[in-house]
Symmetry: C2
Subunit: 382 residues, 2 copies
């Protein structure tokens, strides 16, 4: 299959590109290096050195013989995305090309506006490019479980059948998110759903939970193929951050009561979810939505797991409850459904001692590069 990966330089985009190329697909990765630029702007760095796409594609080819093409360009510009579609004629598009960090979107007016503009305009351009150049192409869009927020009823998979005054209607599950970043993902869903109905697009919208880990069959081949491992408060995901804090002897930063519960998944499962979505097409005119996570944990549970695993490594791990800089429920009902991807054949990698040990080992290897000033920035929501 000819597959376009938008945001192909990212934490998930690059491993996805290799995963699909390794399975014989023709892959073009597109990125504007926005995330690299934003990390420099807020003065944070990943734990590992990550070569740019030209180098990574060359390393990948030299190791495997398989090819990944790349293009550098800003997908909010029509001529960039139109050029890629025109030249490549994708059969599928995996759309990761968004500003991905909730705390970044809450820093100030500039970062909020950038997030809103980038995420909405890229999604709109993807829709227009598919309509114009590849109307049959399957768009796999990364959404987030955060779109749903923490309602007091079960979270269903994308849709909700509502009974009201004796009548019935199926709606997009009502969404209410906890950051501007997450709100732009709600808007993406609004936009995709409108054009799916109007132009018969073929879309899978994946409501993904926070991802952890760095090792996949492909990234393990060479450390230069590993994706960004951010451990800062702005771009790092929570479990990755906790593991670095444990190694650095920095108390694990739990915000507020720590009862905040989310659905998590291993980076290996992200790749499998994307592949399974690509291998099992939705219909033309269908917005198919899957909740993409494998298990739920509260932040307290994650902290306890990292503390236990760290102790096994002889680390002295403290847990510190900090005043919550975000506006969110710290104790809440949380029961999200997630059967769709399992039914397509997903075999989850659960968060076990071995996984945590691998992550700790990786971070210990890079411990000299940890910059303690990056860990806690107190990005305030209010």
């Amino acid at each position: 299959m000819r597959i376009l990966i938008l945001g192909g330089d990212g934490y998930l985009g690059w491993p996805t590109a290799m995963h699909l190329a390794a399975r014989g697909h023709e892959v073009v990765a597109v990125d504007s290096y926005l995330r690299r630029q934003l990390c420099r702007e807020v003065n944070v760095r990943p734990l590992n050195e990550v070569p740019e796409l030209d180098k990574r594609c060359a390393i990948w080819q030299s190791l495997t013989g398989a090819k990944i093409e790349y293009r550098i360009g800003d997908l909010t510009e029509w001529e960039v995305i139109a050029g890629v579609f025109r030249d490549f004629g994708p059969q599928a598009v995996v759309h990761y090309a968004e500003q991905p960090a909730a705390p970044y979107s809450m820093l100030n007016r500039h970062t909020a506006t950038l997030t809103l503009r980038n995420n909405l305009l890229v999604t709109a351009n993807v829709i227009f490019a598919v309509k114009e150049f590849s109307p049959d192409a399957h768009v796999v869009k990364l959404g987030t479980m955060g779109e749903y927020g923490t309602p007091n009823i079960d979270i269903e998979e994308g849709w909700l059948e509502v009974a009201h005054k004796g009548r019935h209607q199926k709606f997009l599950y009502p969404r209410q998110a906890g950051s501007l970043y997450h709100t732009t993902k709600i808007m993406d869903t609004d936009l995709l759903w409108f054009y799916v109905r109007t132009w018969n697009l073929r879309v899978t919208d994946l409501m993904q939970g926070p991802v952890y880990g760095i090792f996949t069959d492909e990234t393990e081949k060479d450390e230069r193929l590993l994706p960004f491992f951010n451990y800062d408060e702005i771009f790092g995901t929570v479990l990755n951050r906790f593991v670095v804090q444990a190694v650095a002897g920095y108390p694990l930063t739990v915000f507020g009561k720590g009862g905040q519960t989310r659905g998590f998944l291993n980076i290996k499962d992200t790749l499998n979810c994307i592949r399974l979505s690509l291998e099992n097409l939705p219909n033309q005119g269908e917005l198919r939505i899957f909740n993409q996570f494998t298990e739920t944990f509260s932040i307290n549970e994650l902290a306890d797991k990292v503390k236990a695993a760290g102790t096994d490594f002889g680390l002295n791990v403290d847990i510190q409850h900090l005043e919550n800089p975000r506006i969110e429920a710290e104790e809440h009902y949380y029961n999200p459904s997630h059967t769709g991807l399992m039914e397509l054949g997903l075999k989850p990698h659960y968060l076990d001692d071995k996984t945590l040990a691998e992550m700790l080992q990786f971070v210990i290897q890079y411990r000299d590069r940890i910059d303690r000033d990056q860990i806690y920035r107190q990005v305030k929501w209010a």
Copy 2:
């Protein structure tokens, strides 16, 4: 009260500015003349000549002694909106500053992107400016009944109490619109609701139905104070268009079966709804939503009313059912609630023979200016 009218040159913005100025409020109207520019771009003109804001403000002042200040500037630019807020310190903001036409948003990629950018970036700037300069100010935002679409259950006023598997949650009423323009209004609501929760803003979101008419206590004073009366398929609202078609001897253009039902209101009631919303503040941290219309009609019912009223004027009015260029249900359940504004004291002006006669008389007076080529443009949704 110091009231800022964003989009103060528009069909509703200008009459609102006069209505509030006539009642002793200090009013600043801001506009970029975007709508004038877009009308030129698609080669349509209102039936009447509409002077620009400098002239209208001068005419208004010479007739009434009351003052309306104006500023010309693009509110997607932060320096423009920040300057206005800094200088004026508004206590209330009426936000009409959006690309307002569903057909325009569906013309092509350029018009879609312009609609998305303009509407979202202005709304975001309004939020940021209120936060930075006037955190207590009341934002009155014009939404649209079109955000709800045509669900098979009753449309409640902004919110829906959902019972699901024995548990309960109140949600923003799920929204699913019929055009990109209407979808940007859904996104506006998403954005406002997020920042109301996060920053304790004070917002009224008015879900307005299609407006008809041109006469208000203030616009009647001088024909140069009348707002744009567009009768083209792109910027004209349906009843205004039908009245012009009746006068022009052009068959009334009903799309498809004509069972499409919407909630309508007289322009006089728009002004009263805005004023009542301003006089009755929501709480800080509250997103108050009203459904703003006074009665529902199907398109067939409107066409029949115009035909009957036109016949009384000796006009020969035909009704023509055209193939529907839009994607919409042509027969559907429609039972929207609209009690909130009535409870605040709204006394509706219903669509009666007198109102239709006034509209017909106005259009007959301008009949030489009707350009038949503007009436039907076949803007296709698909």
